[in-house]
């Protein structure tokens, strides 16, 4: 059905009383997400929109409401602290929407979460600088427009926001639903990488195909592609934005930069193709490419099933014949014996 978030997710919003926090909390509740608490230091004890309790710390919120997912809307200077606070309060998932967090801060956050996880913890963080995560029809922990999504079986992972909406919109209009859509964010240091998300989708029974939308810079797409070649049997479709981007210029996202001839779209597409991923040529064709791949895959699976069935029928026939022969021989032997 979905990964990481579902109907049972209990959400705490860090920075709930800020303008972004207020707006998107309202949107999330409208979508049907179960927002159980908010955190704004100094505003503990008040109620958000007369119903959601606000706490001074994430730990208090978790203790009182059993929240297990946190979403962060605090300003960039305080975001690293907010992620660490949520990790420390033992939530399972932290989604950080905020953009513009210094890389030095994120290196420390990433290291802290990793070290906590080696001590028996299983905490995951998504972002920063991302649209969040949504399991259509169940739960939205992010800022994406909910209505463009459709419940279904394609897992979507992407480094960008609006380009993900574009791709999801194309899928939905073709009647192809999504199991979960994750925006992993466009920064150089992120909590959940393509590879991590691919692993989760690969293990999810209800995800039948995976769509990964990458962009220039770094080598996270290649890293995921090599894993897919080795371990993923589900069809994977891809798109890489930035074929026309010049080297050395940062294309909006801090991570989207071609430097030293590395991280070009051509290079990424080549590796993805080699690893069996079908890459859409044009951003206008993402949806249709997924559709074609799904149909082909299903036709292939059907054929495989038929061939398997045919083989089984043949085997059965042979078995029967062998039995018959054996039976006849036995009969003859018995007859001989009787004689």
């Amino acid at each position: 059905m979905s990964i990481l978030v579902n109907k049972k997710s209990k959400i705490v919003v860090q920075g709930i009383t800020g303008s972004e926090g207020t707006f998107h909390t309202t949107q999330m509740i409208e979508y049907g997400s179960n927002v159980v608490a908010g955190v704004t230091p100094g505003k503990g004890g008040t109620l958000f929109q007369n119903k959601i309790p606000v706490f001074n710390s994430v730990r208090e919120a978790v203790e009182a409401t059993k929240a297990n997912v946190s979403i962060i809307f605090v300003p960039s200077a305080f975001s690293a602290d907010a992620i660490i606070e949520a990790t420390d309060a033992d939530v399972n998932l932290v989604v950080c929407i905020t953009e513009g967090i210094p890389t030095k801060d994120m290196i420390k956050v990433y290291d802290y979460v990793q070290s906590k996880n080696t001590h028996g913890h299983t905490m995951r963080f998504i972002g920063p600088n991302c649209p969040g995560i949504i399991s259509p029809g169940e739960c939205k922990v992010g800022i994406m427009p909910g209505f463009i999504h459709l419940k279904g079986k394609v897992g979507v992972i992407s480094r960008s926001g609006t380009l993900t909406y574009e791709a999801v919109d194309q899928l939905t209009k073709l009647g192809i639903g999504q199991s979960t859509c994750i925006g992993i964010g466009g920064d150089p240091v992120i909590g959940t990488r393509f590879l991590d998300a691919i692993k989760l989708f690969n293990n999810d029974k209800n995800t039948e195909a995976i769509l990964m939308i990458g962009e220039i810079g770094g080598n996270a797409e290649e890293e995921a592609a090599y894993f897919i070649k080795k371990h993923v049997k589900k069809p994977v479709i891809g798109f890489i934005a930035g074929k026309t981007a010049p080297p050395g210029r940062r294309m909006g996202h801090a991570g989207a930069i071609i430097s030293g001839g590395k991280g070009t779209a051509e290079e990424k597409i080549k590796v993805m193709n080699e690893c069996g991923i079908v890459v859409a040529e044009s951003p206008a064709d993402i949806g249709i490419t997924v559709k074609n791949v799904l149909e082909k895959f299903k036709a292939k699976a059907k054929k495989k099933k038929e061939v398997k069935k045919l083989k089984e029928v043949k085997k059965l026939k042979k078995l029967k014949e062998v039995k018959k022969k054996k039976g006849n021989k036995k009969l003859k032997k018995d007859k001989k014996k009787k004689k």
Partner: protein, 406 residues
């Protein structure tokens, strides 16, 4: 943010990193003072170095700024020994002219600052670089015995000649790691000891100034076995500039495109490119995809422009102004994925801006998301030179048509 060599060296010096000494000048009136100042410090040999935000200066060519075909000098960095007269002649000739290197593109960059520096005799050039390794989210120090050349070339041809040390974020650079680098660089005696001090100070500087790249190429071993940064390149993390308000003074607006500066004033993320189709998009990923679509439609993107999450009438108008100041633009594609922003509001913004600005080129507007149909109606009924589209595919076709007409 990129900064100049002389600025990088002055920062590093504060952290106790041994650097080549020098004085930055912006006019030839300051030349004699600079030389005298260095002489007082015991400097006897001199180098003149052009200060631009690009590498390959030594092998670059200086062209006359008024007649771009005329070569003024070959080389943007020159060593003159103790011949101050010759150094002065060279400095006077290249200052304010245009330096073209393999990193600047044909247009080159104007040399507005010269670094008059101490000339050093050295026996070996090495390479040192510090940056983030995105595969494991840790900083990595790279060192190589192959200094003075492009490190990308070394990485491609002889990757075994690059030593890498990853820094654990919780404990920082350790002494054994510094030694490992020194052994890898085949250093001995006092140069070995000097290097340990050098790298410790350098890494501390990298961390404290929130750099996103720190490169010393070449790092030299002088004839008397001292380790010293002959060149220094620092990029600062834009996201961390709020922690260092004093670094704003290091920004050299002459190195940035005036349109890009103008755009940043209205919170627009604009990058000028060489094509003929301007574009205005919300979100960086979608903006890159839109540029790709323009190319598929037969055009060339004239820019990258991300108007951010909320596209108001004001941001749209500012976006138009900036795109139109590029005279190569023959058509404009606006691609907004509504989502939480309502498309009809964006459409009204586009119509209002078009009326105010009297746009001379065809505009293709693709709005998708909340209230997309209403938005299309507003655009279609505006009576302006606007072609509306709802799908990405449709937008591409409209762009192709618009270019064909021009």
């Amino acid at each position: 943010m990129k900064i100049h060599e002389y600025q990088a060296k002055s920062i590093l010096k504060k952290f106790g990193v041994a650097v080549q000494d020098g004085v930055a000048i912006k006019s030839m009136d300051e030349f004699d003072n600079a030389i005298n100042h260095l002489k007082e410090q015991g400097v006897t040999q001199f180098v003149v170095k052009s200060q631009i935000h690009a590498g390959g200066r030594g092998k670059g060519i200086v062209y006359n700024k008024d007649s771009r075909d005329e070569v003024v000098y070959e080389g943007g960095v020159k060593f003159f020994g103790d011949n101050v007269e010759k150094a002065k002649d060279y400095a006077g000739k290249i200052l304010n002219n245009i330096l073209v290197t393999h990193q600047t593109g044909k247009e080159g960059k104007q040399i507005q600052t010269l670094f008059i520096a101490q000339g050093l005799d050295y026996k070996k050039e090495l390479y040192l670089g510090i940056l983030l390794d995105r595969t494991n989210s840790k900083n990595v120090i790279m060192a190589s015995t192959e200094g003075g050349v492009e490190i990308e070339k070394v990485a491609a041809e002889t990757p075994e000649k690059i030593i890498k040390i990853w820094i654990e974020p919780s404990i920082g650079l350790q002494s054994f790691q510094a030694r490992e680098l020194a052994f890898g660089l085949k250093l001995e005696g006092s140069a070995f000891k000097d290097f340990i001090k050098f790298i410790s100070a350098l890494y501390k500087a990298y961390e404290e100034i929130d750099a996103s790249l720190l490169e010393i190429n070449p790092l030299i071993i002088t004839n008397d076995d001292k380790i010293l940064a002959l060149d220094a390149k620092i990029n600062l993390d834009d996201n961390a500039l709020f922690k260092h308000p004093d670094y704003e003074a290091l920004r050299d607006l002459n190195e940035e495109d005036p349109l890009e500066i103008e755009a940043s004033k209205s919170n627009l993320n604009y990058i000028k490119l060489d094509g003929n189709v301007g574009c205005m998009v919300n979100g960086a990923g979608l903006a890159m995809a839109t540029m790709d679509l323009i190319k598929i439609a037969g055009g060339e993107p004239a820019n990258f422009l991300d108007v951010g999450g909320t596209a108001s009438a004001e941001t749209v108008e500012n976006g138009f102004k900036i795109i139109l100041s590029d005279k190569n633009v023959k058509a404009i594609l606006i691609n907004i994925f509504g989502g939480i922003v309502r498309c009809d509001r964006v459409a009204n913004g586009v119509v209002q801006a078009s009326r105010n600005l009297n746009i001379p080129v065809p505009v293709v507007v693709r709005l998708q998301g909340t209230n997309a149909e209403e938005a299309k109606k507003i655009l279609d009924e505006s009576g302006l030179n606007i072609f509306s589209a709802t799908t990405f595919e449709d937008a591409a076709q409209q762009v192709t048509k618009a270019i064909a007409k021009n």
